[in-house]
Structure formats: C-alpha cells, structure tokens
C-alpha cells in the first residue's frame, strides 16, 4: 500500500497550487460541504493558525516603526497600531551601527560557502549516481548519515581545529566549516535530480566521444538547473540561518554575521533598544524572504527533496 506514495514523484508546483495530475478534479468533494460548515471546520482554524504564524512578523514590523515612547507606554496608546510611524530606528541601524558591514559579512560567507558546496556536491553526486564506482551505494548512505550529524555536537572540537589551522576569527573559519552542513544536504538533493536524467543521453554522448567532464558540463548540468537552483537557495538560507559556528569561531565585531551581531552587539542595558533590535531582525530576514518570494517552488522542492529521495 505504501508504494502508492513512493512511486509518485512529488511535484513542487503541485504542492503550492494543488494542480497535479492526480488532483485535477479541482473542486474535489468540497461541494458536499455547505459554506457554514466549511467556515467552522476550515476557515476558522486555518485563520487562527495563520494569525499565530504571522503575528510575530507583524509585531516585528510594527515595533521597528513605532516611536520609543509609544513602545513602552501601553496604557495611553493602542499597542496594536501607530499613527505616527518613524524611520528613526532604521536610520540608527543603517547609519549609526555596523549593521551594513554585518550584512555584507553574512552575504560574503553565505555566497562563498554555498558556491564551494555546490561545486563539491555536483561532482560527488554525479560520481555516486552515474560513475557508480565500487562502494558508491555505501558512500550515498554515509552522506545521508553525515546530514544527520548536527553542528551542536561538532562546534567544540571544530573550534580547536579552526584554531590549529589559524582560521580563528576570519571569514574563512565560516566559509570552510559551513560546507560540512551544506554538502551532505545538497549532494543528497542533487543525486535525486541526476537520477531523473535519462542515462541514454549520456550513452549517446559517450559514443560520440565526449569525456565525462564534457557530459557533466554540457548535458547533465543544463538539465539539472532546477535542482541546482533549489540546492543553491536552500544552502544560502541555511548559511544565513547558521548561528552556533559563527558565535564560536568569530570574536571581533567587524567579522560577525547578522544573527550573532544582533544577539551580542545590540543587546545592552538600553531600555529603548527594542525598536532598533526589531529593525535589525527585520532587515536581516528581508533578503531571505525576497529570495523566497521569487523561488517558492524551488524551496518546496528542496524541502521535499531533502526528506524524500
């Protein structure tokens, strides 16, 4: 029975729009339910869950534009809205702190680590799926296991390793350690994509005298572009989200990434810190949310690809 699920390829587009070949009876059985019934069993619970999921973001945005005196005076002002928005917090963030520098650090580390990981993963995934060398299956299993090793049991020994290699407090400490989180994930994801490319294409190319390298760059990679995009943006998101390595391996203010800097540099005794703190959290999330808005389908396919295939 479970094979029914296993044999169906999950289509990320379908997850978002619900228009897969299977579910093309777009109305389904919903005509059986009257509107009042749907209101109570569907729209109400969905509305509540959505409200809870979205409220922290609303609160972040509102706090970032509220004047200080309104933030701390809940009795005289309606806390859920403000009629006098201010850009003071955002201005303070951008021009009176190192925030732009931290954004730049995060971007640099995330892009470099992601590019390194994707290159290594493409080669490894191609070798495992298509070169099928002796023991490739076991390596595939080992990579899945590596994906399950969490950073929180590695950061202590890694900190001594980073120190020994002389990388401590440099961006390279992060650029070289993040791939350990990213490579297992993206190799696993790309293995799934490479498997869907018909190997008859490669056989043709081999007969025509193409080398393995030519096959990889001229046939496999162009066909795997959606997979590459998925892997790229998901790795980028993971890098941006990473905290424990950045907290442990970086000590000077000018090398910090956004998450660490916000936690360590913004939190002081100042009672009026909330506005700029929220502005900082919001500005740090925006790049990812914008990226997400453009590549929703690729995110979903990366997520489902990571747990399946």
């Amino acid at each position: 029975m479970t094979d029914v699920l296993a044999s169906k390829q999950i289509d990320p587009r379908a997850v978002l729009t619900g228009s897969s070949a299977l579910a093309d009876h777009s109305e389904g059985m919903s005509y059986l339910h009257s509107l009042p019934r749907r209101l109570v069993t569907l729209y109400l619970p969905l509305g509540i869950i959505m409200l809870v999921l979205m409220f922290p973001f609303y609160w972040m945005a509102l706090t970032a534009i509220k004047p200080d005196e309104q933030l701390l005076d809940l009795e005289n002002f309606n806390p859920f809205w403000t009629w006098t928005p201010t850009l003071k917090h955002i201005q303070k963030l951008l021009f009176e702190s190192n925030y732009p520098l931290w954004l730049w650090n995060t971007m640099l580390v995330a892009v470099s680590a992601t590019v390194l990981s994707i290159v290594a993963s493409v080669l490894a995934a191609y070798a495992i799926v298509r070169l099928r060398y002796k023991g490739a299956q076991w390596v595939g299993g080992a990579i899945f296991l590596a994906y399950l090793i969490p950073p929180s049991i590695l950061f202590i020994p890694l900190s001594t390793v980073v120190f020994q290699y002389g990388l401590f407090d440099t961006p390279f400490a992060l650029i070289l350690t993040y791939p350990t989180i990213l490579i297992p994930f993206s190799t696993w994801l790309l293995m799934g994509y490479f498997k869907t490319i018909p190997f008859e294409l490669e056989e043709c190319a081999l007969i025509d005298g193409a080398s393995r390298w030519q096959i990889l760059t001229k046939i496999v990679l162009p066909l795997a572009v959606p997979g590459l995009i998925s892997a790229f943006i998901f790795c980028f998101t993971l890098c941006w989200n990473e905290f424990i390595y950045a907290l442990t391996f970086i000590s000077s203010t000018s090398h910090k990434t956004v998450p660490v800097a916000i936690v360590n540099e913004f939190v002081d005794g100042d009672i009026y810190r909330w506005g700029s703190l929220m502005a900082g959290a919001l500005a740090g999330s925006l790049p990812l949310v914008v990226l997400y808005a453009f590549f929703v389908e690729h995110y979903v396919s990366a997520m489902t690809g990571a747990v399946k295939e």
Binding site: L16, L148, P150, K195, I262, G284
Partner: protein, 319 residues
C-alpha cells in the same frame, strides 16, 4: 560491408596506440576518485575528524589555550554527579518530546486544511512557510520581545481581557520559561512539517476518498484508513528530522534565556556551549556533546530500521 571495412583497417594497422593514460582517463574508479575528492576533503577534515576529536576531547581535561591530558572517564563521572547536567537532560527530553508531538499534530492538521480547495491557495501555502525561512535567531528575537516581562503584548492582551491580573513573567520562572521556549520552537517547526506532509498528501489519489465516501466512510475513517497509511513513510522521515533538529537545538534557547533562569532551561547543547566556550572547560563541554550521540543514534536507528525500510535509504530509486 562491415567485414570488409574491418579487414582493410587491420591490414593497414591504423589502430591508434592506446596508452595506459588513455585507459586511466576512462576508468570509472579513477575518475570517481577525483570527482569525490572535494566533497570528501571537506567532510573528512571538518566533519569526520572533529567528530572523532570531540570524543577524544571528552576523555581529556583540555581547556581553552591549554591542551589536556587523558583523564579517562573523569568528565563523565563529574557530570554524573552534576544536577545541572541532569536538569539539562530532562529539559532536552521534555523539549524534544512535547515540541515534536505538537509539531506533528498541528503540522498534520494544517496540512489537511491546506489540502482543501481554498481561494488564494498558492499564496496561503507560500505564506505558511515564512516562519521556516526567516533565520531562527531573528524570529527568536521577536519572541524575546513578545515574552518581555514588562511590555509583553500577550500579558497586556490577557490583562485587558481580565484573564490575569499581573503580567506573566514568561522567561523569569522555570516552568513558564520552559513552555515559552517550547512554544517558540513549535511556531518555527510547524510550517516545515505541514508543507512536507502536504507534499505527501498531494500524491494520494482523490478517487480513493470518493470510493470510500460512496461506501459510507466517515471523515475520521477516511483519515484513519486512507490518509494515514499512505502518509506513514513520509511522516517517518519528517519526524526523524524534526526530532533530530529539536533535540540538538541551540539558537532558540541561547537567544531567549541563555539557559536561565538559574540553569532551568539549559538544553544539552546550550550547557555544552556554556561549559566549553564560556567557561573554558573544553573537555567537559565535549563530554556533554558526546553524551548526546547515543540519543541521536537511537533516533536515527528507529527511522532507519524500525519505521520504514525503504530502498532510497541506500541511495537507490524508489521503484
């Protein structure tokens, strides 16, 4: 024709000379070695080696700036008698157990709701995933503000509704602090569970439901005997990931409470950071981190052998 062509060719002896290098260039094992090299280098240098080093460090008395000597099980004996360590173990199990169970229940419920025919379906589904996209630390900071002891909007709303008379000290009391961080973890984890399960739900053919409805199955029966069995494999994988990442969580606790009040909310990961990096006792911190490995192995083995034994786990295709 072909024979003739072959014959002339042999006679003229124009076969190109095949050198050992030419043979090597098309040898799969040799090529695979070079293709695997970059990934293997990263994983060996920065994953396998530190993993082994971590276990070794847990048997030494290494401190920051001073290499240690082998002291056997002393770190573990020390931890065995350390009540803070046992509190952290208890917290980790509570945090993982409660958060994973609720994430699964709410995630599955949300997935079922999203699977219905809704207006603006695509937009709603995309928006649901946003808490998962936003970096944990940054959303944790929003929760920190929501859980503020004086200016919390939650306390304010409850007071205006006359449900409570004084502000709730969300992060100041051990038990409310525990439930608060668990809530924040659930908030972040539900979208991931919901969207992956939704992907699984999409593959269930609607005709099964139609047939069951005609046969007189109730909503619960349709869920119990169609949806749930078909979803089991993907539930197994999603929950393994969920349990694993909840168990080793660090960011949320570190931002919200730093293990406080008075070590009451330390997880094993935060305690090992506290001891190793803040306190400087690398050996002891490594021992706490190593103590997490048996739990992780148990979680992995349950998913690997217990729940679903499927071909893809060995890197093969699904059919």
């Amino acid at each position: 024709m072909a024979e003739a062509a072959l014959g002339t060719r042999t006679k003229s002896g124009s076969y190109p000379h095949v050198t050992a290098w030419d043979r090597l260039k098309v040898n799969r094992e040799w090529l695979a070695w070079w293709f695997m090299l970059p990934a293997a280098a990263f994983l060996v240098l920065f994953l396998a080696y530190p993993l082994g080093l971590g276990v070794w460090l847990s048997f030494t008395d290494t401190r920051i700036g001073r290499s240690g000597v082998f002291i056997g099980l002393e770190n573990y004996e020390w931890l065995w008698d350390d009540s803070v360590f046992w509190v952290s173990v208890f917290n980790t199990l509570l945090y993982t157990g409660v958060a994973s169970a609720v994430k699964f229940a709410v995630g599955l419920y949300l997935a079922l709701l999203l699977n219905e025919n809704l207006p603006f379906k695509a937009i709603i589904r995309s928006v649901v995933l946003i808490p998962f996209i936003v970096p944990t630390v940054l959303s944790a900071i929003a929760f920190w503000w929501l859980f503020d002891s004086q200016f919390s909007i939650i306390s304010w709303s409850l007071r205006k509704l006359h449900l409570i008379s004084t502000n709730i000290d969300f992060l100041g009391d051990p038990w409310t602090a525990r439930w608060s961080v668990i809530f924040a973890n659930i908030w972040r984890g539900v979208p991931f569970v919901a969207i992956t399960l939704l992907a699984g739900l999409q593959t269930v053919s609607p005709s099964l439901y139609e047939a069951a409805t005609i046969d007189g199955a109730s909503t619960w029966q349709r869920f119990r005997f169609i949806t749930y069995p078909l979803l089991t494999p993907i539930i197994a994988v999603v929950m393994t990931f969920s349990v694993l990442f909840t168990f080793t969580d660090f960011q949320l606790i570190w931002v919200l409470t730093r293990g406080g009040p008075v070590n009451a909310t330390h997880l094993m990961a935060t305690l090992s950071y506290q001891r190793a990096i803040v306190g400087g006792h690398l050996g002891e911190g490594a021992a706490i981190a190593t103590a997490m490995i048996p739990f992780l192995l148990a979680a992995i083995l349950i998913s690997w052998f217990g729940l679903q034994r499927r071909k893809w786990q060995q890197g093969e295709s699904n059919d």
